[in-house]
């Protein structure tokens, strides 16, 4: 279903497959609130690989888990976060099956004025909360998708399908819309997991259940999302195993995970994730536990799968070398925030953020002196919303303002190549005081009361 429909979908040119806006995931412990993901925005297109890179503890995995809906208590995706899944076929399917959870924005637009609604929101919101630059750009869609419609009685807590454009009344007439992943629950959540978004985990040695055959575990997914069972499912499972390059798949399908090598197990896990033909594949450090030759094979396999099936891949790793090889776009994360966003060539040729530069310098072989250069210190655990630059204490180029102004994303590359960084050193051409002001305004100007 994926290949043809994506081609027909007129919408994919403008809207990404999945659009993460101001994602905030926090863990509430007795001692403190850990803001593991704090305002992450990124988007992923079909057929595109987006890399997410950063040190351990920078919030990469929690971002992935939030998209999968796998964040569990005491963790919570906070209000204001929005993850929009735009694939039209899925939206139509959901609108058809879960019509009770569908919000028709084409109707609501006439009834509500977004600016007026903004004034009624109880909590403090800024344009940044909705991933917008200016307050007057905020749309009704933004407000409702971020979950603020619940308290005003416009949306129900379990509404998750948002229709933005349609030609008629039937679900097939929907021409644009999205599924708000953060609002999914129960059956709707499970249909999305595995069925539309697949995930490959870090450790292939433990991510398969040791007491069931590999085939059994693949068939479980086939049964769940594609209604295949018995012979048919077995045949499909064998085909999947063949597709991920497992030799003698007909025999292997009846073997247990411990009879597979590490690389083969990761192939089996990938086959399992692909079983339901997802539109998006999240790979959470899929090659970290494998040796380098196997790693190369797995990366090649993923590239091949992407070419065949035109799926979007979110690739999480801390290995800059892997990022350079697989991704089209890169998000560099630090302490729960994306601090630099660029296509892979700009990022490696022209890294802007001091943290990105530090990361690139700590790849063995690229340092200037004898010793390997490292970034001193550790990633801090963010417990409060940022009022400074979280990297400042470790940053070689930090100045006084870094401790009091939270940087916002600014264009740092050539015109139009979407290279942004959140650092007070930019925009480069401005003098320091003006630069700092740009950032200060970006984060404070839109606070409520100022512009409303």
């Amino acid at each position: 279903m994926s290949m043809e429909t994506v081609g027909q979908d007129s919408d994919t040119d403008e809207t990404p497959l999945i659009d993460v806006r101001n994602l905030q995931t926090a863990f509430f412990t007795e001692k403190e609130t850990i803001r593991a993901v704090d305002g992450v925005s990124m988007d992923i297109d079909s057929g595109e690989t987006v890399g997410v890179v950063g040190e351990s503890g920078s919030g990469k995995s929690v971002t992935a888990r939030s998209i999968m809906g796998l964040v569990e208590a005491p963790g919570k995706v906070l209000e204001g976060s929005s993850i929009r899944f735009h694939q039209l076929e899925t939206v139509r399917d959901y609108a058809d099956r879960f019509s009770g959870h569908t919000v028709d924005l084409t109707e609501l637009r006439g009834e509500h004025d977004p600016q007026e609604l903004l004034g009624r929101i109880q909590t403090e919101v800024t344009a940044e909360t909705f991933g917008r630059e200016r307050r007057d750009e905020i749309t009704l869609t933004d407000i409702l998708a971020a979950g603020f419609g619940d308290e005003m009685g416009i949306t129900d807590e379990d509404d998750c399908v948002f229709v933005t454009e349609r030609n008629g009344d039937s679900p097939q007439d929907i021409t644009a819309g999205f599924i708000e992943v953060t609002r999914l629950d129960g059956e709707r959540q499970r249909q999305m997991r595995g069925g539309r978004i697949g995930m490959v985990f870090q450790d292939p040695l433990t991510s398969l259940n040791p007491v069931f055959t590999v085939g059994n575990q693949i068939k479980e997914a086939l049964n769940l999302h594609r209604d295949l069972s018995g012979e048919e499912a077995t045949r499909e499972a064998v085909e999947l195993l063949e597709a991920v390059g497992i030799p003698d798949a007909g025999r292997r399908v009846n073997e247990y995970p411990h009879q597979f090598s590490g690389g083969m197990r990761q192939r089996a896990v990938i086959a399992m994730a692909l079983a339901c033909e997802p539109e998006l594949l999240i790979c959470d450090e899929p090659t970290t536990a494998l040796d380098v030759t196997i790693q190369a094979q797995i990366l090649e396999l993923l590239a091949q799968i992407q070419e065949e099936r035109d799926i979007g891949i979110m690739f999480i790793t801390h290995d800059m070398g892997v990022i350079a090889e697989v991704s089209d776009k890169v998000n560099v994360m630090y302490a729960g925030e994306v601090i630099e966003q660029a296509d892979v060539y700009s990022l490696f040729e022209n890294p802007k953020h001091p943290y990105t530069r530090g990361l690139l310098r700590s790849i063995p072989g690229t340092q200037s002196g004898e010793r390997l250069e490292t970034i001193e210190g550790n990633v801090p655990t963010p417990t409060e919303s940022a009022s400074d630059c979280r990297f400042a204490p470790r940053c070689p180029e930090a100045f006084d303002a870094c401790e009091v102004v939270h940087p916002s994303h600014v264009e740092v590359g050539e015109e139009g190549d979407d290279h942004t960084a959140a650092c007070l050193l930019y925009p480069e051409e401005m003098p320091e005081t003006r630069r700092v002001n740009v950032h200060r305004e970006a984060t404070s100007d839109d606070r409520r009361g100022d512009s409303a």
Partner: protein
């Protein structure tokens, strides 16, 4: 094929074990201070009576001849009791009293399995909730109390409820099926079990008699199984907790499986792996425990008979019972290994 070869190998290896166990028993009884003749005739008996009995029992023969006879008789269950029931066939004696012991043992295994394990799984699925803490704490307390002490307390309590004197007017004698005496009164005749449970099984069950027998055995079975119950509870909890947080559960969730499917299919199957040796090991304890329990609750079973045979140096009877116990334990061990390979595919018979 390889499974059967493995079982055969295990059986062959168990021959020296059986041999050493029964030899050890023979040495202890024959070379120790216990004297079957004195046990039968009294400490004061002298002269011709003693001599005649010694000859009768073959105690005058050289020790190696005695040992030879003992081994043959034990392995074929063909000996005759010296003291406990003079001249009676060991095989028949054991057959008569095996019923109550099996009845007690079966309930002592089943009750903890069906109470302790579900409680443990429930606690593991709801960690750190009040019900988990209650289950856990009572498990620890339950396990810390020794069998024999618990048994005496329970007996005293049950007896005290006669005539509705228990708390809230509880009367053990009238709770459920009416019983004349509390568990353990000497008038209890458990041999009736065979009549009710054995023969009428073909035509139908006498349920009221079944429940009477169940009620009679219940306190003993619960107490005998108490430590297994607590062990299974605590181990079940840990096993479930460990598996619930494992990576393959995460994968299963990412696949979109329902929570219930994940728990029943993926978690429980894995949680069973560490439980199997616990259950079979507890079965060993039951055999030892039944000796004490049958003594306290006055149940006329194998354990009690074994106790008396040891006390009176009734070598043929004690030897036969020990041989039976050894065989049971070895079979349980082999059964455990076979179960292991069924539940956990990673365990094989190859090197």
């Amino acid at each position: 094929m390889s499974r059967w070869r493995y079982v055969l190998k295990r059986l062959a290896l168990s021959i020296p074990v059986v041999f050493s166990v029964i030899t050890f028993l023979f040495l202890v009884l024959r070379l120790g201070p216990l004297d079957p003749v004195a046990a039968r005739l009294g400490q004061q008996a002298q002269g011709a009576d003693v001599q005649r009995l010694r000859e009768n029992l073959g105690l005058d023969e050289p020790l190696w001849v005695q040992f030879q006879d003992y081994i043959v008789e034990t392995l074929t269950f063909s000996g005759e009791s010296w003291v406990v029931r003079n001249g009676a066939e060991v095989r028949e004696m054991m057959f008569e009293v095996a019923g109550p012991t099996i009845w007690l043992g079966a309930w002592a295994i089943v009750l903890p399995l069906f109470i302790g394990l579900p409680l443990g799984f429930y606690a593991g699925l709801n960690p750190n909730t009040p019900s988990d803490i209650i289950a856990n704490v009572s498990g620890i307390i339950w396990r810390s109390m020794p069998n024999f002490w618990l048994a005496v307390l329970a007996l005293a309590f049950l007896r005290s409820t006669n005539g509705g004197d228990g708390p809230f007017g509880f009367n053990w004698y009238t709770t459920g099926p009416q019983t004349q005496s509390a568990v353990g009164t000497p008038t209890l005749n458990f041999a009736t079990i065979d009549d009710i449970f054995g023969i009428p099984m073909l035509t139908g069950m006498d349920w009221s008699a079944f429940f009477v027998d169940l009620k009679l055995i219940l306190p003993a079975a619960i107490i005998l199984g108490s430590s297994s119950m607590a062990a299974e509870l605590r181990l079940g909890r840990t096993a479930v907790l460990e598996n619930v947080n494992s990576n393959y559960v995460e994968t299963a969730k990412a696949k979109g499986l329902k929570g219930r499917t994940i728990v029943w299919k993926h978690v429980f199957r894995n949680a069973l792996i560490p439980i199997i040796p616990i259950v079979t090991n507890e079965a060993f304890i039951l055999i030892g425990g039944s000796v004490i329990m049958e003594q306290i609750f006055n149940i006329n079973g194998l354990g009690r008979m074994y106790f008396r045979a040891i006390q009176t140096a009734d070598v043929p009877l004690a030897g036969a019972i020990v041989f039976l116990f050894t065989v049971i334990i070895i079979s349980l061990n082999i059964l455990q290994d076979i179960l292991y390979t069924i539940v956990d595919p990673r365990v094989g018979y190859d090197q």
